[in-house]
Symmetry: C2
Subunit: 199 residues, 2 copies
DNA sequence: CTTAACTCGAACATCGATGTACGGGTTGCC
DNA sequence: GGCAACCCGTACATCGATGTTCGAGTTAAG
């Protein structure tokens, strides 16, 4: 409830978590990510089993299904934020956007699937609050490109962002369906967005 | 099981259905469409209530949740097929594609949402079998455009189709989110696809 | 008008998922 | 070595959804 930090799991008085407890948490989170990114409607029991952990143990760390989902998302968002900090967004906006796409498109793909399949397990408000800062970085980049004349201005800014996410998602699906390889995907994606964004 | 025709509902010996029964079926289908297109995870009880019909009555016509879902999809597919037959797909492929989009994009939007929210209620094989013929029409049109030089050939055909569906879906979401009006949507969509498909 | 089709609500059986409680065994940590 | 933290399986209570059954009332259609 009032943990201050992220989500759950009562620590011990020392303030530290024991090593085996941390290992369990990691395994649960890993298994949870694997399951949630592959399909919707995952049950807590399934996650526990896939993590090689008792169901009760899982509940010991994550008091409810919702808290587990939140922890999963929190971790993914942190990863994405970290990846953003490592990519060079200076220079012409179109080239910067291409760098962003190439460097972290697979990350976006994974998180997008996660986001889709986890909807309904967390409140929309919570999701929005955590997702908006990430969205904003892309928005800023595209806005800069429009001011510089690198990107078209005849379509709404919100549409350009949505189209980007939509195509990233689509590319991810195409890989799952075997109609696109991991190697082709970034090229196809970049070529498509170039055409779509050019004035 | 072996109905021969579509799904369920034992008719009377005369082979005809009574008028009030048909009315119930229609109301159930209407309510089901309304619910399923608005969100996933709809329950049979909800559909019955929204249709103003007893839950038992619903089960009398659709023996299971799956059969109801199939009937809903069947009806949507039939509508789409009918709409295809009424649009002129002759002439230059790019203009034909634009006509298709403008005339039935809202239909595609509705069916797309239905398709998304109903996944898991019918077997993937069944869905594929019914959806492929519709997909094929678009595929043929795009193929023709590529042969004529109207559409680009540097990206896989499957990707062009996926991108189209993806953007239609995205446009539908944007309307739900209030970031696009029903009036703007077709224009935005057509402009985007023109850019994306041009060689 | 008469019959068969249709509708309804209430009740029941089943199932799977969520979350909690108990009690006995391991294992990290000082 | 000893304590507390941690793990485990089992069992239990609850909840919501799915289908089915029963019996009685209503309504279309010949």
């Amino acid at each position: 409830m009032a943990d201050g930090k992220t989500t759950a799991s009562a620590r011990r008085p020392s303030g530290q978590r024991r090593a085996d407890a941390q290992r369990s948490i990691d395994r649960i989170l890993d298994a949870g990510l694997r399951l949630y990114t592959s399909r919707p409607g995952v049950s807590v029991a399934e996650v526990a089993a896939a993590a090689g952990v008792g169901r009760v143990t899982l509940y010991g760390h994550f008091p409810s299904r919702t808290e587990l989902a939140k922890a999963l998302l929190e971790r993914a968002f942190a990863e994405t934020e970290a990846a953003w900090r490592e990519v060079d967004t200076s220079g012409p906006a179109d080239e910067a956007l291409e760098r962003v796409l190439r460097e972290q498109w697979h990350l976006m793909e994974r998180n997008r699937n996660l986001r889709d399949n986890i909807i309904g397990d967390v409140s929309p408000q919570w999701l929005r609050a955590r997702h908006d800062p990430i969205l904003k970085r892309i928005e800023d980049l595209i806005t800069r490109g429009r001011d510089d004349g690198a990107f078209r201005t005849d379509l709404p800014l919100s549409w350009l962002i949505t189209a980007l996410y939509s195509l990233v998602h689509a590319a991810s699906d195409e890989i799952s369906a075997g109609r696109l390889t991991t190697g082709q995907a970034p090229d196809v994606l970049v070529a498509s967005l170039r055409s779509l964004y050019r004035p």
